[in-house]
């Protein structure tokens, strides 16, 4: 990890890199055998930081990652304490060393101790270390690095004449499952001539003479479980062995943070590692984890349609490496369309996102893929009752390229058939990627797509009747990327080709389209305190003409005629931002974005100025932050579908003004508090997700209305009317978001998140709550790693009910509070050459009732257990 000091003597966290590895290839930079500060080699720093920011829209933090780590001067060895209790086993002690601008150690802080006298030995010994100072842009800066000292009892010794040791055991000690060498483990042999020992080298190799006959071999290491073996050798025998030892603990999703990312956005939350792959209730899907963050609720908790700060789901942009995704999740609550192993981290902006993102007025969810690391070649196969998937990554011999393939096939119809609902669903997705080049000229070719097909029984009263296709969604993308330059100065060039298809009601209603989307951006340092970040993109989409839906389909006909577009759609965008650091501790990012939206004869354009400020007024880890900005978007359907991205351009652009203020503090190592308030003014709002009609529009036949039906607003003799979806309204949302978070650096991770919010819409009768407004949203997430490769986790969600319409007014009442508890258990089993993960993930383990948000609708009770296996080769 690197915590660097700014050239003007202000300590801050810089982002060296953040990378994710599977258990097969994790490199534990925090493990420092034999008292050496393990520096991430420059190549991995470059590649890893490249992975973090290579294909993202250029952002300020990338310019700050040109850090040269400190180098030790002299030995960093700390001797085994002479007063250690006899019989003490292998232990390790981790401290955080602050290295000043002169290379001296200015502070040593205990992070993970092993008791006395080991803790004191490391705390005292580390103070005498000397380093060449770290540099940033050539200037010395202070850094804080973790240092782990492993203490292994010295190997036993006993006097024995060499001629009596007439046999030899040599070989390797490696980890069972991963086959990684175990360095600096003690190998002790006991035989008729006494006891002796040796230590494995960096490659896990050892050689130990023994007496002929029986020898008891023990291997001691703080990383390994006790290993005992009895060998029987003849005189003069030379035994060559490979001892497979079990690790004390494996982490299938180890994320090693090399420094914290320099935060430039006030409301961005980044999740990685176990947080995105093992959060209870997420089914291992990185994008579902966003639902447990502040500012987010859903139409229904099982359906991943996010309501971000009171915005319709269509107003929140879903991206993959800065590229829009037309569909994020498979149908009926399925997983995301990207294999989770492809995702390294997820960046979530509930608002206040930078000018590099355009076309949305709600939030932004951006999943980031990882560039392959040197030597990485895992193969992972996962199977559960709903789907099967594979992920494989392999360097291509003789080249500097790495190939990655992944895919999944879903068969939730098996589970649905058990419930006899007359519904069937099949889906698949695929990803294929080729990475190559060098740290200064990196390129990738990424081909991916997905398809969902929903069928229902022709006779719903007879679920076994013939099934017919009711909905089909598909998309394909070819993403070509090239980065030229280093972290401080680079150009990103990108070309995306795509195809989208949506068909419902047996292909009677739908759309298909092709598009091309070139993108370019540059990051240039103008001075030590000023950068220039500029870029643009041009999306050209050709939407095929579709036959008109049959008039017999009633409201579906009317809706499809309204939202279907055909012809040429052009979106262009340019942005410019100039991050300023006028003095140490203050970052100001003014920026502006311009967008053009053209469809046939309709042309709309917008200009969005935005500014972010981050200020660190004290030496402590405390930041004050603020954002203000304008955001525009074209009218979007409230549920994103492939090819149905924008429509009704004649209505004009939607707009919002967003203001935010917040405080961010590091309370203790690995524990962070983030508090922010926001106000969003939306004018106009169109295509809002609405379900609670005004009571005047509901025409009950008696004193009662029938639940479960959308109030049609039919007056006797009149046709159904969907025009309310196209009415322009004014909206506002405001609130407070708090998150207290524990980073995954000690086997425990989690967070407490609370949102206090109001989201409203105004019509002729004044302000009223938004149909999906929830005043209180509380989430608690906890994951704990246990001995013998067990992990357990839980998530609790409690949120207030949604508005209900009564005789006292539109949305004048509230439905009941909603509660949900998710549980997850993981177990890693280690075989000789591979690892097997077994997991049970239960969504809504208490089968709590949940209203569908429809006024007076039946509450839904559900439980979704997922039982799966994942093999890592």
């Amino acid at each position: 990890m690197a915590m660097t000091r700014r050239p003007r003597a202000t300590t801050a966290f810089l982002a060296a890199s953040l990378f994710l590895s599977t258990g097969a290839s994790a490199s534990e930079l925090r493990d420092v055998p034999d008292a050496a500060v393990e520096q991430p080699p420059p190549a991995s720093v470059d590649s890893a930081s490249g992975a973090a920011s290579e294909v993202s829209p250029p952002s300020v933090e990338t310019a700050a990652q040109a850090v040269v780590p400190p180098q030790p001067l002299g030995s960093l060895a700390i001797a085994y304490p002479p007063d250690a209790p006899p019989g003490a086993g292998p232990v390790s002690v981790t401290v955080l060393i602050t290295i000043g601008e002169t290379g001296d150690v200015t502070a040593v802080e205990l992070r993970e101790g092993a008791g006395e006298p080991f803790d004191s030995a490391v705390l005292d010994g580390a103070k005498s270390f000397r380093f060449s100072p770290a540099t940033l842009g050539g200037k010395p800066v202070a850094v804080a690095v973790p240092f782990t000292q492993s203490f292994v009892p010295p190997p036993p010794t006993s006097e024995a004449a060499d001629e009596k040791l007439d046999a030899l055991i040599e070989g390797f000690v490696v980890e069972r499952g991963t086959r990684r060498p175990v360095a600096r483990a003690v190998v002790a042999a006991s035989d008729a001539q006494g006891e002796r020992g040796t230590t494995t080298d960096d490659e896990g190799r050892f050689s130990i003479p023994v007496a002929a006959g029986e020898s008891k071999i023990r291997i001691l290491s703080n990383e390994l479980r006790p290993f005992v073996r009895v060998e029987t050798l003849k005189p003069g025998e030379h035994l060559r062995v490979k001892y497979l030892a079990d690790r004390v603990r494996h982490n299938p999703y180890e994320s090693v943070v090399i420094g914290e990312r320099d935060r430039t956005e006030i409301s961005r939350t980044t999740l990685s590692g176990r947080e995105i792959h093992q959060m209870p209730g997420s089914m291992g899907d990185p994008f579902r984890v966003v639902g447990a963050l502040p500012g987010v609720t859903q139409v229904m908790t099982l359906l991943p349609l996010p309501i971000v700060r009171g915005s319709s789901p269509g107003d929140t942009g879903i991206f993959l490496d800065g590229m829009r995704l037309p569909l994020l999740f498979h149908l009926l609550g399925g997983p995301s369309v990207i294999h989770p192993e492809m995702i390294e981290r997820v960046d979530f902006y509930p608002g206040g996102f930078p000018v590099t993102y355009g076309g949305y007025t709600g939030g932004i969810v951006d999943g980031r893929t990882a560039r392959p690391r040197p030597g990485e070649n895992p193969i992972a196969i996962d199977v559960n009752q709903d789907q099967a998937g594979v992920f494989a990554r392999q360097p291509i011999p003789g080249t500097a390229m790495t190939a990655t393939v992944a895919g999944r096939y879903g068969y939730p119809g098996l589970m649905l058939s058990l419930l006899n609902l007359g519904i069937s669903l099949d889906y698949w997705d695929y990803q294929a990627r080729l990475d190559g080049g060098s740290p200064r000229s990196a390129w990738s070719v990424f081909f991916f797509g997905a398809r969902d097909e929903l069928k229902t029984a022709q006779d719903m009263t007879d679920p076994s009747s013939e099934m017919t296709t009711q909905a089909l969604f598909a998309f394909h993308r070819l993403d070509l990327r090239w980065r030229l330059g280093d972290e401080e100065r680079h150009g990103d060039y990108r070309l995306v080709f795509g195809y989208d298809k949506t068909a419902v009601a047996g292909d009677q209603v739908g759309t298909s389209s092709y598009f091309v989307d070139p993108q370019v951006s540059w990051l240039v340092p103008l001075a030590s305190w000023l950068q220039l970040n500029v870029g643009g993109e041009l999306l050209v989409r050709d939407i095929a003409d579709q036959p008109a839906a049959p008039a017999t389909m009633g409201m579906v006909t009317e809706a499809s005629q309204a939202v279907q577009s055909s012809g040429l759609l052009i979106n262009g965008g340019v942005f410019l931002q100039t991050p300023l650091r006028p003095f140490d501790g203050l970052l100001v990012i003014p920026g502006v974005r311009g967008d053009l939206y053209q469809h046939e004869a309709t042309r709309q354009w917008s200009v969005d100025p935005r500014m972010t400020v981050r200020w660190k007024p004290l030496e402590r880890e405390l930041w004050l932050k603020g954002v203000v900005g304008r955001y525009h978007q074209p009218p979007r359907l409230f549920v994103p579908l492939p090819g149905v991205d924008q429509s009704m351009h004649e209505l004009g652009l939607l707009a919002s003004t967003q203001v935010g203020l917040g405080v961010e503090a590091q309370l203790a190592p690995g524990i962070e508090l983030d508090l922010q308030g926001y106000y969003n003014h939306k004018n106009p709002v169109v295509f809002d997700l609405q379900i609670n009609r005004t009571l005047e529009d509901m025409q009950p036949s008696g004193p009662w209305t029938n639940p479960g039906e959308l109030p049609s607003g039919d007056k006797p003799g009149e046709e159904s009317d969907i025009s309310r979806f196209f009415e322009k309204r004014v909206g506002r949302s405001y609130g407070l978001e708090v998150i207290l978070r524990k980073r995954d650096d000690s086997g425990v991770y989690g967070w407490l998140a609370y949102t206090l919010s109001q989201s409203e819409r105004r019509d002729e009768s004044g302000w009223a709550p938004f149909d999906f407004d929830r005043t209180h949203i509380f989430n608690a997430v906890l994951g704990v790693r246990l001995p013998r490769n067990w992990e357990i986790g839980g998530r609790l969600m409690l949120q207030s009910g949604t508005p209900l319409t009564t005789i006292y007014g539109y949305n004048a009442s509230r439905s009941d509070w909603q509660f949900r508890a998710d549980l997850r258990v993981d177990k890693r089993a280690v075989w000789n050459r591979w690892l097997l993960d077994f997991y049970v993930d239960i969504i809504n383990s208490t089968v709590a009732a949940e209203s569908g948000g429809l006024a007076g609708s039946n509450a839904l009770r559900y439980v979704v257990p997922t039982i799966g296996l994942r093999a890592v080769l």
């Binding site: 009662w704 013998r788 239960i842 009732a849």
Partner: protein
Amino acid sequence: MRSLIFAASLMALVPSVAFAGEPEQAPSSESPTRLQAEREAVEDDGYEIRLSLPSEDDRAAWLQPGLRVELAVEYGVLLPNGPAPRIGGFTAHVRPRLRIDELWSIAATFGYTVARGDFQGVRWSAVVEPIFHPIPSLGVSLALGYGGLSVTRSSGSFPAGSSTETGSRTLGDDERLYGCSGGGWVSQARVEYLAVVGPLFSTGPYLVADSQWTGCEQSFGKTDRETGEQAMGRQWWLSLGGAIGWWLSWR
């Protein structure tokens, strides 16, 4: 039939995990019946593969305090009792269990039943289960917790008279609900036997007597225009029954 397939699939998914993590070589001398000839593998580079001998007896390992996680599949039925109908089907259980010492364990058992028959839907339960081990592999427990039903009648019409209902009310025992959605107390008495297969896996059968007290609610299909809430019919069901099942246990 499909439930059987599901249960079989569940069983098929997990057995490989049962045998993972175990050393290939012979167990300790304290369990001679499990002694096997060692199988020495030789890698391509000429080095012989060696695994560690077990560091403790398998049965002794299972008596050690610590976490176990268990899965079970059972078949059971709740018998008709007054207004409560017969509800039967396959159940999947997840049970994290903490072995306290040689005599006692404590567990949290979660069960989910796919109900089939006259009433279809889901039954669930979550109980706290202190377990007494009179002998190491035998367990006897009394559990108490909370559970619920979300079931509807497989056939038949909406309750007669619902069109005339004017508000929420509690139904008499002689009236029948079309469905039930609600929760209440659950109690269980269980006897189980776990046979130690290895240091990390054991398995065995169990019998359980089961009771559930459910506060059922079912919508009459009307909405109170003053509150926006549904008019509900309510009834209490006391269901008694039993089941037979099989545990898979890991430590």
